[in-house]
Symmetry: C2
Subunit: 337 residues, 2 copies
DNA sequence: TGACATTATGACACCGGTGTCAGGAATTTA
DNA sequence: TAAATTCCTGACACCGGTGTCATAATGTCA
């Protein structure tokens, strides 16, 4: 079984390799008869073009890179799933590149990545989408990129996000409507734009009900489970204890739940807990977490799809979309007694 | 800023491109003086070889594919982490390829993958490592592969695993030593070789203590949280109720815990629960799950490292290694009252 | 110091595609 | 029906590396 290349197809079909290339790329100026003949040989020889050779000729790799630095494994896999769907549909492949967000080394790290892999484009997942230096670096290198779940910017970048502020507003409304007035809040990682957004939504809801904002109820987390434990400790030690806790993601909410349970508190009877993201853990624990579901896969899929079409046709308009999130109520929140 | 290629380096250094290539690949037969000169130009021009061109010339892609079909997102990310470490050290990149294990389509799917990405090698994660047809297909295509966490085979494949049978034995011993005699068992997915191994370890421990095996205590799961819920229901409905449950992974164990808690059972006072894998959820819930920790990252890293060196030097011996797992006791198991 | 082995280097083809351009065939227009 | 236009097609260079082989330079030994 020897290799089938464009040359073997060409000689088999009795045409030049250029003509085969034309058929391959659906270029015009090929007679119907010739096209048929070549296509038949494709089938007969079971030919698939070599993407590496194609890449060399066109200076493309047909690979998209996915950057992330996120403690939530479920979030990462959701991002990957969405990105993979888009790649599959466009015959691209996905290269994953976890790397540390902080530090001087980041830009060097990315530069190295670009030099060794010749990516055609990059998806920036939180918090990378909000890092202006990185964006301008990529621009200077002429590497197309797309931002997922990052802040809305008035620029020409591809960006797909969901409305974190609104989601946080709705879940706080849900708690307030259940009668809660003393609602603690655990912030996310300061590098993530979602952190500010969710905090804003929380405050907007309080304000719209005339509930005074109390900063003693606010803890600084960083989206990790561990930070949730620390924050939970401070919150549960408060006196009077808040009747509800809204954590900026489900891992931190799960940490609050664990600590509360350890302390013999009944959830939601003694304290209501709400999270954000609808991570798997939200339904794997008892009581299940009330949370906000975001279409992470869909966001990433759209972003990558746009990125790929931008690579093919760079003159397009910026694609900036905000998708809907939705409230999911489970057992961890209930009306105040 | 125009592109730096081997040609620009060559003309800059006043040597032929072949000599540059020799320096690049640390080939012999280059005088020290020439080598120095070329290396200096590398630095001066900030040259990095184009992996695509190199790939075309050598018919390699410098990409390893990672196959998986696993409901556990944390397992997937651990596998990815290990694989990425090995890739990084060897200037390889990782392509992820989730796909359905079942069905005729699998081989076609993989064939397609190989044709469109020209992978240099493939890591087979559970359950793919145990699928003989796939292994022989890859052999026929001459694609090197490595098996992670799969059954021990008397063949020449690269394989890194941990001892599932022994792990299951130890955790069952732990329960028995706590005084449990009626220990329910939830099996994993039948396609995974670990499923049989863990079951074997469970039975060996029972037998070694003269506890009669009771198949009414055994439920068929499939490693998913959902299957754990179903199994838990059957187990908790048994009368007399077993005093302990050993689930073949932590997700199913978490499901048992959730259902037990919903039913007002105290864990571990009323029933002890043990899992397997030391997934994040094992420590994110209360009570934390007693479980078996396996070095998944390390297994995958070793497998990929071996795979890459095998690609470079195909004449090596089969590399078959079994790594140690270890028991982690948390709050979900306690002595029988 | 001459014969021979070894080392260093470059010319050139090649990997498998795509881009450019020239020229013949087919079609349209006058 | 001749001229002008458009459509097809292939020759050839090129993308940026590596492999082969010939030859020049150097080293070794008698």
């Amino acid at each position: 079984m020897k290799k089938v290349t464009i040359n073997s197809v060409a000689s088999h079909a009795g045409v030049s390799k250029k003509t085969v290339s034309r058929v391959l790329n659906n270029e015009p100026n090929v007679s119907a008869a010739t096209r048929e003949k070549v296509l038949a040989v494709f089938k007969e020889l079971d030919y698939t073009p070599n993407p590496i050779a194609r890449g060399l000729a066109q200076n493309r790799s047909f690979i998209i890179g996915c950057l992330y630095d996120n403690p939530s494994k479920s979030y990462i896999t959701r991002v990957q799933t969405g990105a993979l769907e888009a790649c599959k549909e466009n015959n691209y492949n996905l290269l994953i590149h976890p790397c540390e967000f902080r530090g001087e080394a980041l830009i060097n790290n990315i530069e190295q990545l670009l030099q060794t892999s010749r990516l055609d484009g990059i998806v920036l997942t939180p918090p990378f989408g909000d890092f202006a230096e990185l964006a301008s670096f990529l621009k200077s290198k002429k590497i197309p990129y797309a931002r997922v779940a990052s802040a809305l910017l008035q620029d020409d970048s591809i960006s797909v996000r969901s409305n974190d502020e609104q989601g946080a507003f709705e879940i706080t409304e849900h708690l307030i409507n259940l009668g809660h007035k003393s609602i603690a809040f655990i912030k996310g990682h300061p590098d993530h734009s979602a952190t500010q957004q969710r905090f804003k939504g929380y405050r907007r809801s309080l304000a719209s009900h005339g509930i005074e904002f109390d900063e003693r109820l606010v803890e600084e987390g960083n989206f990790s489970y561990h930070s949730g434990v620390d924050s939970a400790r401070s919150i549960l030690d408060l006196s009077p204890r808040p009747t509800a806790v809204f954590a900026s993601n489900d891992y931190m909410a799960a940490a609050v739940l664990k600590l509360a349970t350890q302390r013999q508190l009944k959830v939601p009877d003694d304290i209501s807990i709400a999270g954000f993201d609808n991570a798997p853990i939200a339904r794997h624990i008892w009581p299940g977490l009330t949370t906000i579901a975001q279409p992470v896969e869909e966001m990433t899929k759209q972003a990558v799809t746009q990125l790929i079409s931008h690579i093919a046709q760079p003159q397009e308009q910026p694609y900036q979309v905000t998708l809907e999130s939705r409230l999911i109520t489970r057992e961890s929140t209930s009306a105040i007694k």
